[in-house]
Symmetry: C2
Amino acid sequence: MNQNKNVNRRIVLASRPDGKPVLDNFRLETGDIPQPDDGQLLLRTIYLSLDPYMRGRMNDAPSYSPPVELNAVMVGGTVSRVEASRHPDFSPGDWVLNQGGWQDYALANAGEVRKLQGDILQHPSWALGVLGMPGFTAYMGLMDIGQPRAGETLVVAAASGAVGAVVGQVAKLKGCRVVGVAGGEEKCRYVTQTLGFDVCIDHRAPDFAHRLAQACPGGIDIYFENVGGAVFDAVLPLLNTSARIPLCGLIANYNIKDLSAGLDRLPLLTGIILRKRIRMQGFIITQDYGHRHQEFIEAMEPWVAEGKVRMREDLVEELENAPRAFIGLLEGKNFGKLVIRVGGDTL
Amino acid sequence: MNQNKNVNRRIVLASRPDGKPVLDNFRLETGDIPQPDDGQLLLRTIYLSLDPYMRGRMNDAPSYSPPVELNAVMVGGTVSRVEASRHPDFSPGDWVLNQGGWQDYALANAGEVRKLQGDILQHPSWALGVLGMPGFTAYMGLMDIGQPRAGETLVVAAASGAVGAVVGQVAKLKGCRVVGVAGGEEKCRYVTQTLGFDVCIDHRAPDFAHRLAQACPGGIDIYFENVGGAVFDAVLPLLNTSARIPLCGLIANYNIKDLSAGLDRLPLLTGIILRKRIRMQGFIITQDYGHRHQEFIEAMEPWVAEGKVRMREDLVEELENAPRAFIGLLEGKNFGKLVIRVGGDTL
């Protein structure tokens, strides 16, 4: 079944994952299309963004945002069109950025959405990527916490992904030596040849840590952390004095059920942070930097328009493919910003 | 043997500690008193500062400063008087702050010392404490990284010690609720009754973690980290969103030879830093904030003069007692800023 005007298809959280999510954790349902109240909009989802943070929302554990309730629609940013408007600032057909979730139709108060206008309408889905939350995350974490200086070495993982690609390209614009980490030769080739990173290393290589050390002969000044796990372990001994670690995600850790037995490396990490005078700082883009969105847009829009910052999209057709695509995202199977095309531009 | 004008007593690093330092790691030697070259000063040590960072210098491992060589004089900040001057800006009898080390006499270039003048000459040893490196560490770590705001809760360990006492008192001046941690009832009484902390908890209490949680009903906004170990473990679950952790020392970890077996809590710590958007930052006062020394002096001198910031000194007589006192410092046996009186004010 495709998107149509008679039913609302939605994907709900059927059960909480025990470690890695599986298809049974999701359920496709259909229901009525809701009706907007005064001041509300009825929005039809065109593009749905899939992002690693959603894994955290599937757990029933305290985090920076409340969990998705069982049997509730999965959350997610969407680019949508106005189907019906009961607010004077919006008309049917307008494009908006909203938090529509994994479904065809959503209601929103007019104050909760952002109207998309101007150049971005040539590529509306970019509002979910390079000009949206991932690009904003990359830009603010790099600029405010990473504080790149010309000649410094930056490392970022998931380098062909939505955040990593922007981090590296902006760091290049700031004069850094940029080393990416990605999964597989094809992604690495793209990262160096298309995105212009100096080096890209395949984290699947058995001698990955050795290759990373070779690629950073002067050590690492900025490690933009979005994966955790083995990449972080390889980065740790290479960190320079006064290194900065903006921390926006730990995708490698999201499916961990229990801490692994072995040596307790917590004192190792705090000791390195002390001796090397490192700044490590977690951030959540909307909570920490929502007030600086305009600054991001003013910097990024020209770079994108001039081709200085590029973004590859991994566009998957049809809402019902979202669960499988999301599971693949956590395994690094996507290549570029993962977006689901839920509906046609016109219907 | 007391300090005299015929020999230079010095305490050298005889061997490197294997875990906790022992007396055999030190050796008292005597030698000739050195002669200053042009531009140099001969300085006689009056007060020697003993500080936890010295434990790191005893290891032959890379850290923020090079290790003390075997058979070399132990390093340390000193308040000294000029015995002989071959520089026009200094005269015999002048008081200076220098890095004289654990010995009676030291040479220094005039540019390496700071002349002590004005009110501080009423208490010259304070240049090693509240108005010296520990006070500077407390002030900059708290103000620049901790960024205290009125109504927030701050926790600091070693609360009766040289750094912790200043951190807590300045945080009180900034309107924070201040919870100290110290070893034993006597120290805790001093911390609340004399220093004016809101609460002080004995880390030796079997239910320490529970008491800390009770003392912080609104969680912890700033944890000024100078000890590590069990205190850090108890603090971790209490950290609030957007908490700051200035990290200037890890005294509980300094004698650790190997990481302990158990669960690897490194991903636990990074996960908390991410989810709670925490800033954790190591710093070494001279390297990171040397250029802001004047700002510290201008804030702290009036507070000390007005009795708003107090400092207890633990004054130990005689250079030969320095090794035993230093070993005690690492075990929390001192009560206040540990200073060795090496020589008399007049000789």
